[in-house]
Amino acid sequence: MTAQPASDPGLFEKFLVWLSADRDQALKKHEQIQKKITKYLVRKGCPDSEELFGETRDRVIEIVNTGREYDNPDALFYSVARNVWLEEQRKVRPEPLPDDFAGCSQEPERKELMARCLDTCLGKLPKPEGEFIIQYYEGQGQGKIEARKHLAAALGGDNIVRIKAFRIRAKLRACITDCVNQAAN
């Protein structure tokens, strides 16, 4: 994991100590916070979440180095990130989405590779998960709604089905990313 603050490395080290006296734990904590804040910025519709996280972290480093006591790194990071987001909202006019935002005109070779990787990754799923995801995507229109109602009835509710599908999709995405990267190397 790399952490590349814009400010003085000495300040960054003090910042890590503030996160944790153990450097490895501090780096791990930094990574966790980075994921949370980046996710927050994505949820706020920011097209440049990584850059805004960097801005947030630099400000937190400056704040921490003023010597004031802040016991909760998550809370401080969130407060600063929210200010960064508000400032960004005030100054930035949203750009229109690119024409191909849905990726319909991806190169055929890449599409083919991703499709192959998806097949491979589906095969790697444990059988119950594979069966679930097939049922989840069964049918179209009203048929799909009926299929998902049956799943919800069998598993104990819509929320459970939604979370289960989300977890399996996340697993597939990670697997496909690895597969595509391996094919590229």
Partner: protein, 284 residues
């Protein structure tokens, strides 16, 4: 799901940027989502669902606009969209369902067919089993050489054959109706937001249609009871029932077809804002 968690509808509003002009509410939700990993996962799953709904074309115009102008601004979300499309394309090959018409969901009539064909088939099969049994009895009678038993069996067989033929005709009639998409039960299905403006979705009824059903998807409604009233366009009450129980987050009920003529109707559900409107169209 913890009781302190926001409702799915609230999470969707948040993700579509509709709470950005309510700083206190937005701030409270943001904090909850950041500091509670369980809620954060639920929010992630609702994101996926918004993407699925967008690809399904089931979002209303306002939500669709919010997705394209706000929700999909981050490249991470566009990547999720591409992945979702990849998954759907993969599974579409396995599906035997009829292709989508391409029209937005609101302008496409949604009718669910619930034929009673199975009942006719079971009666036909039962008649066939009886026929087989009577044949066995007939053979036994021949072996024993009992003339009267043979005569009785022949009569029973003849009777059953008539009944079977009748059932076959009934099944053929029902099948014909189904072929022409004439449901015995015509259903109006409401998913997501209800329609309180305009004529709403069109529900076709045929001469053979016996029931008109309504199915309203209401997340979080399972096990709860609602008072339901169906009104004509002029506000006259057509049908009412108290204590209709929802199950699997869905409120469903059926009414006699003869209560309805062609025209606009709306369903009012207790404790629910707005109405669910649909139009009955009588087909010949």
């Amino acid at each position: 799901m913890k009781e302190s968690f926001p409702a799915e509808s609230k999470i969707r509003e948040y993700l579509l940027g509709r709470l950005d002009d309510q700083p206190e509410t937005e701030d409270q939700l943001s904090r909850q989502m950041i500091f509670d990993d369980e809620l954060s996962e639920i929010v992630d799953s609702v994101e996926d669902e918004i993407i699925e709904d967008y690809l399904d074309g089931t979002l209303d115009e306002s939500d669709k606009k919010a997705v394209e102008e706000y929700f999909l601004r981050p490249p991470e979300r566009r990547e999720k969209l591409r992945f979702a499309r990849l998954l759907r394309d993969r599974f579409a090959k396995n599906n035997k369902a009829v292709a989508e018409t391409g029209q937005p969901r609101e302008s496409r009539p949604v009718v669910v067919f619930r034929p009673r064909l199975r009942q006719s088939i079971y009666i036909g099969l039962a008649a066939a089993v009886l026929l087989v049994v009577s044949c066995v009895v007939y053979r036994a009678g021949v072996r024993r050489g009992v003339q009267s038993q043979l005569e009785i069996s022949r009569n029973a067989q003849s009777e059953l054959e008539k009944q079977l033929e009748q059932e076959r005709q009934n099944s053929a009639d029902v099948a014909k109706r189904l072929e022409k998409h004439e449901p015995l039960v015509a259903v109006a299905t409401f998913i997501g937001r209800f329609r309180d403006t305009g004529p709403g979705q069109v529900v076709k009824v045929w001469p053979g249609t016996q029931q008109v059903g309504v199915e309203i998807q209401m997340p979080g409604s399972s096990g709860k009871a609602y008072d339901v009233v169906v009104q004509s366009k002029s506000g006259n009450q057509i049908w009412a029932q108290a204590g209709v129980k929802a199950s699997s987050d869905s409120l469903a009920f059926e009414m006699l077809r003869r209560l309805f003529t062609a025209g606009d109707y709306c369903v009012v559900v207790s404790s629910q804002p707005g109405r669910y409107c649909f139009q009955i169209k009588v087909e010949k």
